[in-house]
């Protein structure tokens, strides 16, 4: 079923919407949640909560891409769960992602102003558009989907070490881009 049809079901308050969403994007949602939480049970709960969030927000929302919309909800729910589990000193996969993302953050003394998450999203989107399609997809698959380096290296046909270096160069390039824009978080 096409995204437009599934979204139409949400708008009609038809409960088949959740069934169709799970059929089409269930595996994707579980993978994104697992990549952040590294815990099957937590991921299951996140995905269920995400379906509930979709039900609550459509209408009025009518996303262009249901997958991106769902993924954003999953990431928000997963990072919230990570924060609570982090407070309880439980291990989570997001730890690695967050430590890698720290490379992208410009030093505060090198910037002119601090931006909020929304503006930062737009700056990162602009930077991504300047990359090749492969680099762009790689960055998003690693830091939006949270796919493991080993998985991506397998898909690319390169060694994980080589991919790690490539990702590091991309993070440094993003940091330089943000420094050039004179912003930080």
């Amino acid at each position: 079923m096409e995204d437009v049809q599934i979204i139409g079901l949400y708008w009609l308050r038809d409960e088949n919407a959740i069934r169709e969403t799970d059929r089409k994007y269930g595996a994707f949602c579980h993978r994104v949640a697992m990549n952040i939480l590294h815990c099957f049970q937590d991921s299951e709960e996140c995905v269920s909560d995400a379906y509930g969030r979709c039900w609550d927000t459509m209408p009025p929302q009518r996303p262009q891409s249901l997958r991106a919309y769902l993924g954003a909800i999953i990431r928000n729910l997963s990072i919230s769960r990570y924060r609570s589990s982090h407070a309880q000193k439980r291990f989570s996969g997001a730890e690695v992602l967050l430590s890698e993302l720290a490379d992208c953050i410009p030093a505060r003394d090198s910037v002119q102003r601090t931006v909020e998450s929304g503006e930062l999203s737009e700056l990162i989107s602009q930077w991504l558009e300047s990359l090749t399609a492969e680099d762009r997809s790689l960055f998003i698959r690693r830091y939006w989907n949270g796919d493991p380096v080993k998985t991506l290296a397998g898909e690319l046909g390169v060694r994980p070490n080589a991919l790690t270096k490539r990702l590091l160069r991309m993070r440094e390039a993003l940091r330089r881009h943000l420094e050039k824009e004179g912003v930080s978080v």
Binding site: S65, A68, R141
Partner: protein
């Protein structure tokens, strides 16, 4: 909320079309490994073929040298130095008589220059005579085969 988490949130809210494109994107495999394997297989095959060829040729050479010391006719192309055996004897037609050499025509090697300087008992030969030449080997120099270490040139019917 830490700065990393703010960054994480910012990435969460990337433009939908970028996220969607990344999900659909199929990575093209960097196939240097596949080409490396292919090259290794080809190299191995070439080495094996060369080994088999050389082994077969050595066997044939050994058989021929024990019988007549003549190179097997038709096996050599007359141009590859590697393929010309040492201690050879061949029969040829005289193409040209020079001051210190003969230019002869052989079936096996094509034209061959036969140095005659210092050769004892050299018979009187003329163009189109047939002679038998004994030498140590034949080398390829500047595109022309040359008999090296000539020990005898005698009329073919002698």
């Amino acid at each position: 909320m830490s700065r990393e988490e703010i960054f994480f949130d910012a990435i969460t809210n990337l433009r939908e079309e970028l996220v969607e494109e990344a999900q659909e994107y199929v990575f093209r495999k960097h196939s240097w490994r596949r080409y490396t394997r292919l090259a290794a297989c080809l190299a191995l095959t070439a080495i094996l073929c060369l080994g088999i060829y050389r082994s077969a040729r050595n066997t044939a050479d050994a058989g021929n040298s024990s019988n007549t010391a003549m190179p097997p006719s038709g096996e050599y192309d007359g141009c590859l130095e590697d393929s010309i055996p040492e201690a050879v004897r061949f029969t040829a037609s005289v193409l040209e008589v020079r001051a210190d050499s003969l230019l002869v025509s052989t079936a096996e090697y094509g034209p061959v220059e036969v140095p005659t300087a210092g050769l004892e008992n050299l018979p009187e030969v003329h163009e189109k005579d047939r002679v038998t030449v004994r030498c140590e080997r034949i080398s390829l120099e500047d595109g022309l085969c040359r008999a090296v270490g000539v020990t005898a040139v005698v009329p073919a019917d002698a």
